[in-house]
């Protein structure tokens, strides 16, 4: 029998329907793979008993012909998503023992559709990071290595566990979240497909909040089709999230294979950075050529405020984080460190419970919102954000259907390599953060390798709520580039 972990989600779904194998067999194969891959540190909590129970239930419903769209498909869940009776920590010491009494909307929709939970995946603490090195459970290791080297590399972040687990074939797909690039950058670093949907497309209810006006959940998957299948279950209106969009959820999978003939693809000139590696430059033009040969038309466009997106983000996101994380006070849940007064108890709890990166962002956010600085920083950043969004609107008004850009300015780097300067780490998100600032959908697709054999990705940015066009275009890139899987060393 073929190794059940090596198939795509779409192939597994078909195999389960044809009863070529059972969900229990598929689930066990993945549980074994997880056990053999502990060196990657992708899972922070394995739930094998629950996985097998869910698999048996899925098998029973498939037998009765009542299996949902994801019946029996084993998935990994980023530890930012609340899972009922299963510890959910956001990979922070402050939530080390938190066991939710409720289920996030997205995961409840996945279980509704028959999916199986294998466990909880590592991430940067409260999703704040670009390398998965800020997790209280320690860094995740990228299954990819440079040719002929054994340096351990980061999988990107904050959804590093999700990306690493999908790339290493430990789960069929994974949930992830993206505030400034946290789905697309790790997808690019691991040769997986990652979609950040339009703001409001997926419910944020039950996901630990980082920056509420930017946070959006989406899938990390092995193929574009797999991402489309997962999206159909993850998307949808939720009365518990007032920012979730009340719009029908299309059959995203139907967009796969649709002609892209005549589509206008914008190539934003501001994304051509000084000192960008030649390989990325080359990959980008190759990607354009692939879309062109599929019948799309390339047009050079301008997004003049691009360079201001990252600095504006580092005001808006920490400001919202400082407000959202005020809830961790040692009273209602989470860690408590005693103090002589209630004030001292708050201060001790938060000093002990938050890691360095979270503390840094909460402090900068507190500062830019404080009396006397609000107008100079926060208000100005929100005005710049309006201009960033307007740049995209101007492009779309000229008939551009989507934009093509590199996903990241480099391939994966070594663990500990970018420890010193926080701003250097932030530059990882230079191509992805604009999309969050404008609330648009963006997808990262594996497109090639660098000279050292590491994967590189391209990003497509779409019009609001037009994820379908992204799936159609992304599949064209995928067909041309092929699939990339790491050689197993773990």
């Amino acid at each position: 029998m073929t190794d059940l972990t090596s198939l795509t989600l779409a192939e597994d779904r078909d195999g389960l329907a044809k009863k070529s194998f059972t969900s229990l067999e598929l689930t066990n194969a993945h549980l074994d793979a997880i056990q053999a891959a502990r060196a990657l540190n992708a899972f922070v909590m394995e739930t094998p008993d629950q996985a097998r129970a869910m698999a048996r239930e899925a098998d029973a419903s498939i037998t009765k012909g009542q299996g949902g769209p994801l019946a029996g498909i084993p998935l990994g869940i980023k530890d930012l998503f609340a899972t009922r009776d299963v510890r959910t920590t956001a990979c922070s010491k402050i939530l080390a023992n938190f066991v939710p009494t409720y289920e996030s909307t997205i995961t409840s929709q996945l279980w509704r559709d028959g999916a199986v939970m294998l466990g909880k995946l590592n991430n940067d603490e409260f999703a704040m990071g670009s390398s998965n090195e800020t997790s209280c459970f320690g860094p995740v290791v990228n299954p990819w290595r440079r040719d002929g080297a054994n340096t351990t590399l980061v999988p990107g972040g904050s959804s590093g566990g999700s990306a690493s687990a999908v790339a290493a074939l430990l789960c069929m797909g994974a949930t992830a979240t993206d505030t400034g690039g946290s789905i697309r950058q790790p997808a690019a670093f691991t040769a997986t497909v990652g979609l950040k949907p339009t703001y409001g497309r997926c419910s944020r209810w039950g996901i630990a909040a980082f920056a509420s006006s930017l946070d959006q959940a989406g899938p990390i998957a092995r193929t574009v089709r797999d991402a489309a299948i997962l999206m159909r279950s993850m998307a949808g209106h939720d009365p518990k999230d007032t920012t979730s969009a009340d719009r029908d959820v299309p059959d995203y999978e139907a967009a796969i294979g649709k002609s892209v003939k005549g589509m206008r693809i914008g190539i934003p000139r501001e994304y051509r950075l000084d000192g960008m590696p030649a390989e990325i430059e080359k990959l980008w033009s190759e990607g354009g050529a692939w879309l062109k040969s599929a019948g799309a038309e390339l047009v050079e466009v301008s997004l003049p405020h691009t360079k201001y997106a990252l600095p504006a983000y580092y005001i808006v996101a920490p400001a919202e984080a400082s407000s959202n994380l005020a809830r961790y006070d040692g009273v209602r849940y989470g860690l408590r460190v005693p103090g002589r007064s209630i004030g001292e108890m708050y201060e001790n709890t938060r000093a002990e419970g938050f890691g360095d990166e979270v503390r840094r962002r909460v402090m900068i956010g507190t500062y830019v919102l404080s009396a006397g600085y609000y107008d100079a920083y926060y208000l100005r950043a929100q005005k710049v954000r309006t201009l960033i969004k307007r740049d995209f609107e101007d492009c779309f008004a000229k008939g551009v259907n989507a934009l093509l850009t590199p996903a990241t300015p480099s391939a994966a780097f070594g663990i500990g390599e970018k420890g010193g300067d926080p701003v250097e780490m932030y530059l990882n998100d230079i191509f992805t953060v604009t999309v969050n600032m404008a609330g648009l959908p963006g997808i990262a697709v594996p497109a090639g390798k660098d000279a050292q054999g590491l994967p590189l990705g391209l990003q497509l940015i779409g019009r609001p709520f037009d994820e379908e066009t992204l799936f159609s275009l992304a599949e064209v890139l995928e067909q041309a580039a092929g699939r990339f899987t790491p050689t197993r060393w773990w």
Partner: protein, 95 residues
């Protein structure tokens, strides 16, 4: 703009995060690096630009003003570090 040591202490207090004196110079350096990075925003012409309040134009959904959840006190206190009955316990606030 940059922050001095006294401002770092004030921010830490506003954020309710205890910091020890030895950490202040390091924190000050990091915060100033971030502030230097965002400084480039001052060159953008924002004359007449509205600040963004909602990234997607949508009207806030309203629901009937009726109780639709509750009677879950056990769940609410389940993860609390210190409780008595269905109350959260905190250090004495009022003398």
């Amino acid at each position: 703009m940059s922050v001095d040591a006294a401002t770092v202490r004030r921010i830490a207090h506003l954020a309710r995060i205890a910091v020890v004196e030895a950490e202040i110079p390091h924190l000050q350096g990091e915060l100033n690096a971030m502030l230097a990075f965002v400084e480039q925003l001052s060159e953008v012409n924002i004359e007449g630009v509205e600040p963004m309040t909602s990234v997607t134009p949508m009207e806030m959904k309203k629901r009937p003003d009726a109780v639709n959840d509750g009677e879950i006190a056990d769940d609410i206190v389940r993860n609390a570090p210190a409780t008595d009955d269905h109350f959260f316990l905190v250090p004495k606030v009022v003398e």
